[in-house]
Every structure is written in structure tokens, then in C-alpha cells.
Symmetry: none
Subunit: 232 residues, 4 copies
DNA sequence: TATGAATGAGCCTTCATTCAT
DNA sequence: CATGAATGAAGGCTCATTCAT
């Protein structure tokens, strides 16, 4: 859609004008994205209701009117934020899982740390906090999130556990509950990071990576057939 | 404070008038509670910003003006809701812990289930979800919550773990992380119940009691010195 | 209406009860006055709109409901304040004028100082400030004030000037303007005292008595037939 | 600030567009002024508290929201009214005083009449009345008024009197009191015009110009070294 | 397309007034 | 008579949304 900048200019066309058009066009196409980024940051920081569209527009470097050119309402902006931000990276993740060659305990640990690096510690974590906070007001969004994120994530974790059981590494587990036992610390870390952490005294601060390590170890204690022999 | 109802009425005193006064007095004393109850329900359902004080008043069966007779602002009403809902039940809990005679695995399981019965499945859970959702907007509330709930809960769980280690039931644990491993499923259950659960397909629904059971079992696997011998 | 306290008690009547009734009755009769006093003070200090009836009631030591037992509305309370506070002291003043034996310059000076002592420096001055401030909102009150205070005061001053002219002490004066030349400093002192004075630096503070003296001297310079010979 | 209308338009520039922009710009620039004018009229007529911002906006031909686009609060609107209305014209006045060539009696008379024409009979007088009425509620405004108006006016009058004394026209005067003797009739006229006058019977009406004339004559009687020789 | 001035519905809050007790 | 809890009609102010330019 954007004109390929490597393409040679049509002969006779004034270069400057073309370049300007290009830049404007590129800018125009970037607009929604910039607005979504700005909105994401502000929604995460202050919540949906407390974020003013003026602020979003200002942060995106456009006027308030322009925002409504791209999003018909604040609610639609919010929905767009959720939709745009949730990039389905589960395909890639599933592939990694398939290719993984270590034991299942290592895989599980890898998955959890991987989640932290790719989601938990990035801005993407804000979106989950946001969705959970506003789910009551936006059931549609919550359902969308469930379908696009929770569901696939759930499936992926189920695959990991199944792999462990199939390979005789994990004891027979009640799949659903075990999956949620893995989701729980992630949700917890998200909410903690975005809500209580700023108010906790240093003594109760949490190093997420260490916590994940510790948590996985504890859970593996209950999952592994032979905990004593575990390598991780 | 209220006249002792066991006290016989002064002879000659008209019983009707006394009763009326009592009802009036009771009414006045009941108002804040009724308002807090109404506010709790609405805040949990719609969030702080989306809840209108008119609605709260209407639900409590009074006029808008009356609400401001008891709470100087919407924000103070919110704080009152938080305070009232999470009235420290930790004293009682700590006593139970002290008196508990079973082994530490049983105690841990008891604690988690107890939490669900007293907090998780009651309206109090909604307020925690709300506090975490709105923490950014109400740092004061978040700090209060941290001090009144998170802190004491943290301490209580630490005592449980310490008991297990002292009695040689639990392996040496990194205390902080282990505590958060117990807190995590509770926070998760809270958030889940109040945000995603209504949108999940039946296949992904979660029975909280069973989940707690399962989660505790897994964690105990990692905590107990002798997992095989565990009674629960 | 109030039982004469000197009247011997009716035989057989319990003294205590009677006394209580008396006190309550006396108190009841005093209520309107106490309310008017409280209202005067607050109206003068804060203006009509900014004075809350709660405050008036509280200052008078009664409940808000009681206030409305005596005055049907805040406006009526205001009117009552003006009516009650403006005690016609012009009869007495006119008598003094008639009996005055000094020369007219002395009489004029006496009148002005007398006004300051009896009105200007007392709480009564507040009422004039109040009436002038709120005249736009209460034309009825302004008319009443004009009739009860301005008019009589005007007449009294006219008599003084006429006396001076009749006795050949004052030059022929344009009566209306001359009267207002005497009223002007009084109005000025009132407004000054109640509005700007608190904001003026010490260098611009004003000693009212000295100012009246100075002002009268200047005016007499223009009024007296023989200024050089004036004794005051 | 506005583009010089005498400047010829750049050749080729579309006149219509320019004019439109100008009109739009002028409109935006005119808004605060229109609002201040509307507010001035209503504040003077009804007082600060009784004036509703809706009314001000309506009178200025805009919506309530627009008003808050230009003034952050009703109070700031009021302050703006005061500032705009009494924009310091003392510089001009001081110059006139310096250039004045007549005798000091004439100068004094000129000053007083000048005040009436520029302040007393204009809308600015209403604002002074308002400031004095509401001074108790707005000490900040009162202080501002004192600094911007009372102070400079005071200084100007002092200069006039000093000039008279320096030139041997005026007798030695107690400066402060004499200055206030000149301020008093102005304050009086203001208050009178805006409060009692509408309620006075015709017999007690006051022609301000004549009153000033009369008042100045009387005061000059007390000020001049040689009253008999006075030309005015 | 982009702007930003304008809008107006709606919110929180106040306070004079009422009325059951 | 006195109380004070309850009321509800406004009022000031915000902010998502519109639209002329």
C-alpha cells in the first residue's frame, strides 16, 4: 500500500512533491498506529474512564478532531487498542514448542520465562491488565481477548503438559486445573506489576524472573514423576 | 451505645415512643452501612468512574443529597467501601493458625480454602478486584489496602510456611517467593471471577475449590520434604 | 406575655417546673432576636448568598429547623435583619439638635462624630454596607432602608444646614447637594471599613475620627460665611 | 497583532480565504472580550453569586462550555472582568496632570469631573461597586483592586494636592485625610448610583455632575489659601 | 485530510426547605 | 416547640463529540 521507496520515480514527476506526498501518506497510514500506541499507554496508566481523548491525541501529536477521523468513538478506540496490541504470536510459540528438544520440565520453565520476556515485561502486559480491569464494562472485549489470547495460550500450555505426560515425565494431571496453575502466576505478576507494586515496601518487592523460577520449581515438585531427579 | 434491650423499661415510660426512637436511631445508624452496601455492589459491577452517586443513593433507597450527608464525596464513599469490606479479620485468622493442630500441609490447605470461603466467594473479592483495577487512580487506597490486607495476609502466610519448616515438614524455602506463590492463585481467582470468567466457554470454566485443591497439591509437591507421605 | 418573675408563685405549683417554663418561655421569645443577631453578623461578614442558614442557626444555638419556625425563608430572615437592626434613633437625635446651644459649625461637627459613635463604629454600620451591597437583589429592602434611614437622616442634616443659614452662620447653600456632601463621607467610611480597609497597607489606613474632623473642617471652609473666625 | 489591514495582500493570494481566516481569528480573539462584557453587565446587575455562568454564556451568544474554554472558573471570569474593566488609565491621567496649566483649583475640579466621565458614569463604576460589595468574599480581588486602582488614584490625588500646596494655592493640608476627602465623594457616588438611587424619590435624586461641582466648591473653601479669589 | 472552536448532556456537589418524630 | 434527617432543585464544571473552515 505504501509506495515502495526503492522504486524509481516516474520520470518528469517533481521529486520534492513526490517525497512530500510519500511522507504525508506514510504519516497518514501511521496515524492510527500512533494513536493506538498513545491510547494504550494512557489507558494502561490511568484506566479507560480517566483517560481523556485530548491527552491521547496530544500524545500522538495530532488534534482531537483527527482522532475522531480514525476512530468513531472513545470506546472504539479502546477496542482498537486491544485488537491491535494483541498480536497473535502463538504460531511462533507453537513452533518453538514443537522443535524443543529438552525435557518437559525445561520446556515449561522456558515457556514461563519466555512469556515474561515477550509479554510480561513489555508494554503488552499493560493490555492484559487493562482488559481485566475493564472487562465488566466491555464484555465484548473480554470475549475477544479470551478468544485471541487466553484460549490459544491455554492450548499451548496444555500441549506442554501433555508432552510431559506422554513422555512419562509428568504425573497424570488434571489438565484444566494444571493449566490454570501456570496461568495464575502470570496473571498475578501482571496485576501486581501494574497495581500494587508501586505501593509495596521494598521488603515485599518481587523479582519476576526469580519468582517465576521459584514458582515453576514448586509446581514441578507436584508435577514430576521423579522430582528428585529433576535437572532444573 | 444503643440502649441495652435487655434493660427493662423504666416504669411508666411509653414503650411505643422508645421503640420509635430506637427505629429512628437504628435507621440513622444503618444508613452508612446501607449506602456502603449499595456502593459496593455498583462499584464492583461497573467500576468507580462508571458508577453514579445517584444510582448508589437510589439503590440504598435514599436521595442523592442523603448520601452526601454521610460521605463528603464519592471518593470518600469508595474509601469507606474498601475499609468496611475488608475489616481486618486477620486477628481471628492468626488465632486459628496458632490453635491449629494438624500438620502444616493440612494447615496450608485449610488456609487457602478458608480464604475462598471468607473472601474469595464473598463480595469482598469484588473490592479487591476493584482496588487492583483502580490502584493507579487511587494510590492512597492502594497503599491502605497494601497495609491492611496484603501486609497482614503476607505475614500470616509466612507464619504458616515457617511453621512447616520449623517442624521439618517443609523443605527450606525462599520465603518471599513462596509466599507470593500462595498469593498468586488467590489474586488470579479474584481477577478471573470478576473479569474473564463470564466470557469463558464452559470448557474453560474453573471450579475454585477444586482449583485451590489442585494448586495446593502441586505446590506442596515442591514444598514438602517427603511428598510421598503427605496425607492431603 | 412572659410571666412576671416578681409575681409570687401560685401555691402548690412546683417551683422548679415553673422556673423551667419561665426560662423556656423567655428563651422562646428571645429566639428571633438571637437569630437576627447571628444572621446580622454573618450577613455582614460574608454577604447574603455566602451565608448558610446552618451557620446562622448554629451561631444562634438552635437547629436549622428551628430557624424556619421563626422565619419562613432565608430572604425573610434577611429582611427581618434589616428591619430589626434599623432602630429609628432619629427622634432622640432630632431632640438633641433642637436643644443644641452651640453654633452651627459645632453642631455639624457634633452630628458627624455622633453618627460615628452611634452607627459608624458599631455593628449597625454593617447593616448599611449590607443593604447597599444587596440593594440590587432586594429592592424592597433598599426602599425600606431609604424610607427609614436615609430619608430621616437627610431631613436631620437639612435641619442642621438650615439652622446655620437661618442664623447667618452658613452661606446660602444648595441644600440637596450640601446634604449629600455630608452623607458622602459617612457612606464612604462605612464601605471603606467593611471592604477595602483590610486590604490597604498601613500607609493608607484611616483614622475615622480624625478623618471626620478633617472632612468637616474642609467642608465648613466652603460653608461658613466667615471661615477665618470659626471656632472649631 | 492583527494583520495590518492597510497592507496590500500578497499578489495571487486568495482574498476570500484570508478574510475568512481573519474573521475566524477575530472571532476567537473577540470571545474573551464578549464574555467579559456579558459578565460585567450581569455581575453588576445581580452580583457575583446570583449570576449564573449559563446566563453569561447565553448573553455572550455562546454555550456554557465555551465560557470554560476561555476562563477556567467563574471566579477567574470575575477577576478577568475586574482586570479588563479597570485597565490602568492612570498613566494617561498622570500625563494630563503634568501638562495641566491652569491653577490647582481648576485642576482638582477637572480631575473629579474627569473621573466621573471616565469611570463614574461608565460600566467601570459598576465593577467598583461590585468589588466593594464582594471584597469580603474575594480578598484577592480586593487586594488587586487596591493595588491597581486605589493606590494609583491615591497617588494621583496626592500629586494634585501637593501641586496646590507647592504653588501656594492650597493651605497646608493633612495629606492623607485630604486625599480621602476627595475619594469619599467618588465612592459615595458609585455606591449611590448602584444601590440606593433606584429607590429614592425624585426629590432626593442627585445630579452627579452638579454634585461634584458643589462638593469640590465646598472642599476648596477649606483648602484654598484665598477662597474669595477662587476662579472656579 | 486536519484542525480546534464550539457544543451540551451529564456529573458531582451544595444548600434552602420540609416533615416525621 | 424543637429537632435533624431527608430532600431535590440547581449550579459549576468536564469532556466526548461535532463541524465549519
Amino acid at each position: 500500500m505504501t509506495p515502495d521507496p526503492l522504486q524509481p520515480l516516474a520520470p518528469g514527476e517533481p521529486a520534492a512533491a513526490t517525497e512530500q506526498k510519500q511522507r504525508r501518506a506514510r504519516r497518514k497510514e501511521a496515524r492510527p498506529g500512533e494513536l493506538v500506541d498513545a491510547a494504550l499507554a494512557l489507558f494502561v496508566e490511568k484506566g479507560f474512564a480517566a483517560t481523556r481523548v485530548d491527552e491521547v491525541a496530544a500524545r500522538a501529536g495530532v488534534s482531537k478532531g483527527t482522532l475522531f477521523l480514525y476512530f468513531p468513538s472513545k470506546e472504539e478506540l479502546f477496542k482498537a487498542v486491544v485488537r491491535e496490541t494483541i498480536a497473535g504470536r502463538f504460531g511462533e510459540w507453537n513452533d518453538e514448542l514443537t522443535r524443543f528438544e529438552g525435557n518437559s520440565a525445561e520446556l515449561l520453565r522456558y515457556c514461563m520465562h519466555s512469556w515474561w520476556e515477550r509479554i510480561g515485561m513489555t508494554a503488552a502486559s499493560g493490555i492484559t491488565k487493562l482488559v481485566m480491569s475493564e472487562a465488566g464494562m466491555f464484555p465484548e472485549i473480554a470475549a475477544f481477548y479470551q478468544q485471541e489470547v487466553i484460549g490459544p495460550g491455554h492450548d499451548l500450555l496444555r500441549r506442554v503438559l501433555q508432552r510431559g505426560m506422554d513422555r512419562g515425565e509428568f504425573r497424570p494431571l488434571h489438565m484444566e486445573y494444571a493449566v490454570y496453575s501456570l496461568i495464575a502466576p502470570m496473571i498475578f505478576l501482571l496485576m501486581w506489576k501494574h497495581s500494587m507494586a508501586p505501593c509495596c515496601p521494598p521488603s515485599q518487592q518481587l523479582d519476576p524472573v526469580e519468582f517465576i523460577d521459584s514458582q515453576v520449581s514448586l509446581l514441578l515438585g507436584g508435577m514430576l514423576v521423579n522430582p528428585a531427579a529433576r535437572s532444573t
